[in-house]
Symmetry: none
Subunit: 236 residues, 2 copies
DNA sequence: GCGATCCCTCAGCAACGGCTCAGCCAATTC
DNA sequence: GAATTGGCTGAGCCGTTGCTGAGGGATCGC
């Protein structure tokens, strides 16, 4: 898995232990330095102590809501960006205005890969110094996370949101077999409870769009009984 | 047998004494430092005392399930990865979340060689410092565990899952005779109860694919009445 | 509010892989 | 050199896996 350079420090705030752990662990593996808090008070304290580069903040916390936390942070002179976690059915107006600063939001239940991508995007915008590019390349395949666009050999390819996420996950892990369970865990929302065969369907869609259009080599390979693999000619 | 460098400490947790012993012994032979526990409570205590690098954890334990154990561990600030053991048919592909973070899972009944390989893979991912490569080499034969791919003299060779596991076992033990019983014990699932002649079949398949395609030296040799041996020219 | 898109499920089909068996060949023993 | 044992391999059966097209239901955008 591609690591973030340089290591950024994140503050994760959510009162549900499961979500908090899920996020913390995934973000650590993604290369971030993670500090976690379970409520607004602890979050404010942790922000003082650790001075993170970004916070992932649930809007619904037991003691105060995420907006209040943000306001208090800003008042204390902390201007790092925030990625809010909101329930899907939150009213529109509650969510609007969230993205004004460098901020962004992700709705629960989210896909792990998606959260990581969003955090990277926000960091990229606020710390443009890094040579961390928004474009992932594997052979003649390009995926531009900012423009949400995919090209193969210069030719733009139209993907649905899920197809895009799946391809991004594959491209982040070239030349490595990914099992259907693994793909499900990273690409689909964490509460999805259909079965893994949906991955087959989406692999099929992707192939049709990126491996069939050009008469180039097939990039997506099936490892029967094991998983799928995105082939890259140049060895890393 | 190739040793793990440096020696990693593992915590093995399973309530069935047979499985626990089987795993502990094999992992010790594979070069790991092993501590075992029979239930969640003991596992938590052992984690405190021994601070392992990884845990092998049955999801079905008498006192609490594997997820609870994991959550409690993480809450206590222990962030080592976990390889879960799950039953094959308890709605297998409905169970998700086992592969997030650096974690992975193996279904029961498993093959010993497979478990060891998975553990190594997880450790490799979480401790990338080690120069422990995912590629095993014997002469001009290469086996890439991450890509699940085999090459001889640069030429990619397609193997079925069982063929792959068999070859990996042979390649992990070059220049050493392995009896059919030994191979059966390591490569096949522990509840397999056909007879050892199946090994002959698979050796035959492997020869056809790796020793016949090129006109190079035959790597797989038969020691009549004893077993098989994968021969390597360069002694290391 | 309507159409288009997208997500997901399902079922049919084809290909593959796991395993067994039988017949043959090779090595070994007497 | 005959008999015996051990190993090799082709054939075949059968369950499993993966691919794909079709369709239903939900959602999004206009």
């Amino acid at each position: 898995m591609k690591k973030t350079v340089p290591e950024a420090k994140l503050l994760v705030v959510d009162d549900e232990p499961n979500i908090r752990e899920l996020l913390s662990t995934s973000l650590r593996v993604a290369g971030f330095d993670v500090v976690a808090a379970a409520n607004g008070r602890d979050a404010l304290a942790a922000a003082e102590t650790h001075n993170p580069d970004l916070a992932v903040l649930d809007v619904m916390l037991p003691d105060m809501d995420g907006f209040t936390v943000t306001r208090r942070l800003r008042a204390a002179g902390r201007h790092f960006p925030v990625v809010f976690l909101t329930a899907r059915d939150d009213t529109e107006d509650k969510v609007t205005g969230l993205t004004v600063g460098g901020d962004d939001y992700v709705t629960k239940p989210f896909s792990l890969d998606e959260v990581v991508a969003r955090i990277r995007a926000v960091l990229r915008r606020t710390h443009p110094l890094e040579d961390d590019d928004a474009v992932i390349r594997v052979d003649d395949l390009e995926l531009d996370d900012d423009a949400h666009e995919v090209r193969r050999g210069g030719e733009t390819i139209d993907l649905s949101p899920t197809e895009f996420k799946l391809l991004r996950y594959l491209m982040m892990n070239p030349n490595r077999v990914l099992s259907k369970a693994q793909i499900l865990d990273h690409v689909w929302e964490y509460d999805f409870n259909g079965d893994a065969s949906i991955v087959e369907s989406y692999i099929s869609y992707l192939r049709r769009k990126i491996d069939r259009s050009s008469d180039a080599v097939a990039l997506i390979q099936t490892k029967r009984g094991v998983g799928y693999l995105l082939r890259s000619a140049d060895k890393r």
